[in-house]
Symmetry: C2
Subunit: 154 residues, 2 copies
DNA sequence: ATGTTATAGTTACAAATGAAACTAATTGCA
DNA sequence: TGCAATTAGTTTCATTTGTAACTATAACAT
C-alpha cells in the first residue's frame, strides 16, 4: 500500500489551475492592491481602518442612516459596522442619536471632525482611482465600467 | 465654540464618494463575491481554507517549490504560507523535505491525498469562473482579460 | 577563519474578524 | 391584551491575521 504522505508524481492528467490566468485570482490581486494603496493614504495619518473609512464614506453620502442601513450600503456585516461605529463615535467622528419613533434604531451622521477627515481622504481616494484608470485608454475605461456593472448586476 | 461631537450639516461642498460608482469598491465587492462562491465549494467539504487551497494550487502547477517561492506565486506573505503549510503537512496533503544543498529551504509537493483533493476542487473552481464569464458576451470577455492584464502588469 | 549580513522559515503576541448568543425594543397576530 | 416572532444592535468567545522578533543556515567580505 502506498504511503499517502509521500510526494506523488504529477501526471499530465491533473490539469492544475494556472493562477495567473484565472479570473478570480486576478480580481483578488488587483482589488487588494488598489484597496491597500488607498488605505495607506489614511491609515496611519488618521488611525482609521478600512472598515471605518467605508462607514464614514456612506455617512457622508447618505444622511441619518441607521447602523443596519450602513451595513447594507457597505456590504459589511452588522457586527463589523457596530464595532466601527463604536470607535468612530468614541473618537468624535460620528454622532449617534436614537430614532424618535423606534428606540432600537440609531440615527447617524458625521461630526465636524468627521467631515474634516472625509474632506481630506475622499480626494485622495479619487486620486488613487484615477491612477488606476490612467493605465487604460478611454475605450478600455468604458468597457471596464460596463463589464463590472454587468458582473455586479443582481 | 461649536461642539465637535454634534452632527454637522452636510453642505454641497463635501463631494462624498459614490461608492456604487467607485472602481476600488466595485472591484472589492466582485472579488469577494467570486472568491467566496469558490470557497463555499470546498471549505466545509475538505476543511480547507482559501489560503491552503491557493498553496495547493501552486504546488499542483509547479513542482518542488520552496515556501518562499509559494509565497511569491500566491502573493501571500511568508507567515501565512508557513501556517498553511503546517496544516497541509499535518493533514498529509503536502509532502515537505529539505533541500539537499541548503538546509533552510523546503522542497514541497502534493501527496496522493493532496492530488485527490486538487483534482476534485480545481474543476469546481473552473466551473465558477465559467459562471462569472457566462454573464458576458465574447467581446466583453476579451476586453476583460485584456484590461485586467494591463492593470496587473508590473 | 571569523565576523557581518542576508535568507528561509517559525514562533509569539496583539489586533482584526466571524459566528453565535444575548439584550432590548417592536411588530404581528390569535 | 398578551405572547411569539422579528428586528436593531452589542457582547462574548474562538479563530484568523498581521507584525515583529526569533532560530537556523548560508553567503559575503575582510
Amino acid at each position: 500500500m502506498p504511503n499517502p504522505r509521500k510526494p506523488a508524481p504529477a501526471g499530465a492528467e491533473h490539469a492544475p489551475l494556472e493562477l495567473e490566468h484565472f479570473l478570480p485570482y486576478k480580481l483578488s490581486i488587483l482589488s487588494n492592491t488598489v484597496s491597500q494603496a488607498i488605505a495607506d493614504d489614511y491609515q496611519q495619518r488618521y488611525d482609521l481602518s478600512v472598515t471605518e473609512w467605508r462607514v464614514m464614506a456612506v455617512l457622508a453620502r447618505f444622511h441619518g442612516l441607521s447602523a443596519r442601513e450602513v451595513a447594507e450600503r457597505t456590504a459589511m456585516d452588522k457586527v463589523a459596522v457596530s464595532r466601527a461605529l463604536a470607535r468612530l463615535v468614541e473618537a468624535g467622528r460620528v454622532h449617534r442619536e436614537t430614532h424618535g419613533g423606534d428606540k432600537r434604531r440609531s440615527v447617524l451622521s458625521l461630526t465636524e471632525a468627521g467631515w474634516l477627515i472625509h474632506d481630506d481622504v475622499a480626494p485622495m481616494a479619487r486620486a488613487r482611482e484615477r491612477e488606476v484608470l490612467a493605465k487604460l485608454d478611454a475605450e478600455e475605461q468604458q468597457w471596464l465600467t460596463r463589464i463590472l456593472d454587468k458582473l455586479l448586476a443582481h
